[in-house]
């Protein structure tokens, strides 16, 4: 019921019309029918043809585009199950039997379990603690009237424009002074206080909750912390889920910082570990093992995506940037 409503107001009867077709039909049809209700039958055939054409074209482009966008993933799966010889066989599309041993091999012979563990630890803490902190901070910005609230919020917004890369050198020096190089701390600690984007999204959402609910809770004797936990957070579950999902992706995919601060093979995260299969540290067959590890790196994202698809889409509207 998007564009189509406008069109359907003018089309006669064909409620199955798709949006573009309907608007198209409506604009062609309506002036004439309004003037003389006579040659409807003739025109509606041509309109119907045109509508069917646009509809077919829409489906063709969407279907073709989807296939094109999905095929690289198919190739990733395919390669991850091939043996070296099969990779270079142009006539073979799908390997039988599938080489599951690629997975068992990289798992057993490379520090892949460590990489997975490191990535998981960083992501888990980042999502859980980071999201929790973001909620508390967002509540402060949304509801509490402390000195400097507005100024600090503007500062928070401006940090979203400042990329990590600009400050990376002093940051790495700080980590060195703390003796944190080649540990997971640099990937964990900076995110513990909440992320600017998460705080911003949550703050905007908290602002839409009627303040009367806070006041009612306060007359019932709730403290500010009580209001946060018993009024604000329960009402904000969708926003929190969105922030957590986006934070998961950001943490899991992070590459620049771990690349710089981590070094030892068993201390790196998955994205950095993938480099080992290209850099020549391991001389065995590269492509198939690399794709197997790539699959291990990508699968959690796909799983989270399918469980939290609504959250991703809703995240856009939550930030209030829709048209």
């Amino acid at each position: 019921m998007r564009h189509s409503v406008a069109g359907r107001a003018h089309t006669t009867g064909t409620s199955a019309a798709t949006g573009l077709g309907a608007t198209l039909g409506g604009s062609l049809e309506s002036p004439q029918t309004a003037l003389s209700g006579k040659p409807i039958t003739v025109r509606s055939t041509s309109v119907r043809v045109l509508r069917a054409l646009t509809r077919t074209l829409t489906y063709l482009v969407l279907l073709g585009g989807s296939v094109m966008f999905a095929i690289p993933f198919v190739y990733m799966v395919r390669w991850s199950f091939m043996t070296t010889g099969q990779v270079y066989d142009p006539d073979l599309f799908w390997p039988f039997p599938m080489a599951w041993e690629n997975y068992t091999y990289v798992w057993a012979n490379h520090p892949v379990p460590w990489w997975l563990l490191n990535s998981s630890v960083v992501t888990f803490i980042g999502v859980v603690v980071g999201t929790f902190s973001s909620c508390v901070v967002a509540y402060g910005f949304a509801r509490l009237d402390f000195p400097g609230n507005r100024v600090l919020f503007i500062v928070l917004l401006s940090t979203m424009m400042l990329p990590l890369h600009v400050t990376i050198i002093p940051i790495v020096i700080i980590f060195r002074e703390l003796n944190w190089l080649d540990t997971l701390w640099p990937l964990i600690v900076p995110g513990l206080g909440g992320g600017a984007f998460s705080i911003f999204v949550l703050r905007q959402f908290f602002m839409t909750i009627p303040i009367e609910l806070d006041e009612a809770a306060r007359t019932d004797g709730a403290s500010r912390i009580g209001i946060l936990f018993r009024v604000i957070l329960p009402l904000s579950k969708p926003a929190i889920a969105t922030v957590a999902a986006l934070s998961f992706i950001a943490n899991w995919n992070e590459f620049f910082l771990p690349l710089i601060v981590l070094n030892s093979p068993e201390r790196i995260t998955l994205p950095v570990g993938l480099r080992y299969f290209a850099a020549g540290q391991y001389t065995e067959q590269l492509h198939t093992f690399q794709m197997a590890v790539a699959m291990i790196a990508v699968m959690p994202i796909i799983v989270v995506f399918f469980f939290a698809q609504r959250q991703f889409v809703r995240g856009i509207t939550l930030t209030g940037i829709k048209g």
């Binding site: 406008a6 585009g65 000195p147 794709m291």
Partner: protein, 295 residues
């Protein structure tokens, strides 16, 4: 509502988690990087003050730096308009009442979520001379180049790869499209507007905030291209895909010229700032905010 002085100040406790990490990992390093950019610092010993030397060297004696700026401008000029037009087109199609819409949406959106090192390695294989991309081009009779070993085609290859990530932009457009009130289309129909005019006089103006937002995000993102450039082409061949951030990374963390790298970082920051401020300045002329004109 009665608040004591303590209660007012104690509000700061709620934002303390962010404030501490901000001072520690953002503001502090931000100030320090200004200082470092005027020094010679090699990660050991003490920084040695050299005045504006680093900046002078950047613009007069560093061909790679100038090259990286030109490369990034090239990438931005093709990537940003390209991805916006394609994402807009896909969003318009997805916004029709099509069967299986969630499936198409997922197919177009998923690659932008998984983008990273893993998919960068995947694209190396797809871009091989006899890889999927060239096989596809072969279907329409085009003899595809050897993308990654050609200094002419390496950048187009990275741009092509970047279009695979149009999902984020597309989903913003889709949300914006769904937020356009129907009565505007109805009014346009009453006035006898056809598809094209509805698109141009209703859809596009109502979409300008989303178009503006994605333009800002994509341009900022273009100046931060790193993973693809490092993994897929490693800046080559012959510096044809050397992006400014890759130059910064190599200078700082391969050659350990940290003062000089800080200067690069600051030029990068100023560029991003100028682009963003410029865009906000121009935005007043073309971005339509509903309700704003009624004030």
């Amino acid at each position: 509502m009665r608040t004591t002085r303590w209660q007012r100040w104690s509000g700061l406790l709620f934002i303390a988690p962010w404030l501490i990490t901000f001072l520690w990992f953002t503001l502090g390093p931000f100030v320090a990087s200004i200082f470092l950019s005027f020094t010679n610092y090699r990660f050991i010993g003490l920084p040695e003050w050299v005045g504006a030397d680093n900046y002078v060297r950047l613009f007069t004696d560093d061909a790679k730096f100038i090259r990286s700026i030109i490369n990034t401008l090239y990438y931005t000029a093709v990537h940003v308009p390209g991805i916006m037009v394609m994402a807009f087109f896909v969003a318009i199609l997805l916004n029709q009442k099509v069967k299986g819409q969630p499936i198409y949406r997922t197919a177009f959106y998923l690659p932008s979520v998984t983008a990273g090192v893993a998919t960068a390695y995947l694209w190396i294989l797809l871009l091989q001379p006899n890889g999927l991309v060239n096989q596809f081009l072969g279907l329409v009779g085009i003899d595809g180049p050897n993308w990654l070993t050609s200094s002419t085609w390496a950048m187009p290859a990275l741009i092509l790869m970047s279009f695979w990530g149009l999902g984020t932009t597309m989903i913003i457009y889709l949300a914006a499209l769904q937020g356009i009130p129907q009565h505007l289309y109805e009014a346009a129909s009453v006035d006898g507007a056809g598809v094209i005019r509805k698109m141009w006089h209703v859809t596009v103006p109502m979409m300008t905030p989303a178009i503006f937002l994605t333009a800002v995000l994509q341009i900022i993102g273009s100046w931060q291209v790193f993973t693809q450039a490092l993994i897929v082409t490693n800046g080559g061949p012959r510096d044809s895909t050397l992006f400014i951030l890759l130059h910064l990374y190599r200078t700082g963390f391969e050659y350990f010229q940290m003062g000089y790298a800080s200067a690069i970082a600051w030029v990068l920051f100023v560029i991003i700032l100028v682009f963003t401020v410029l865009q906000f300045g121009i935005a007043r002329r073309w971005v339509y905010y509903e309700g704003a004109s009624e004030r």
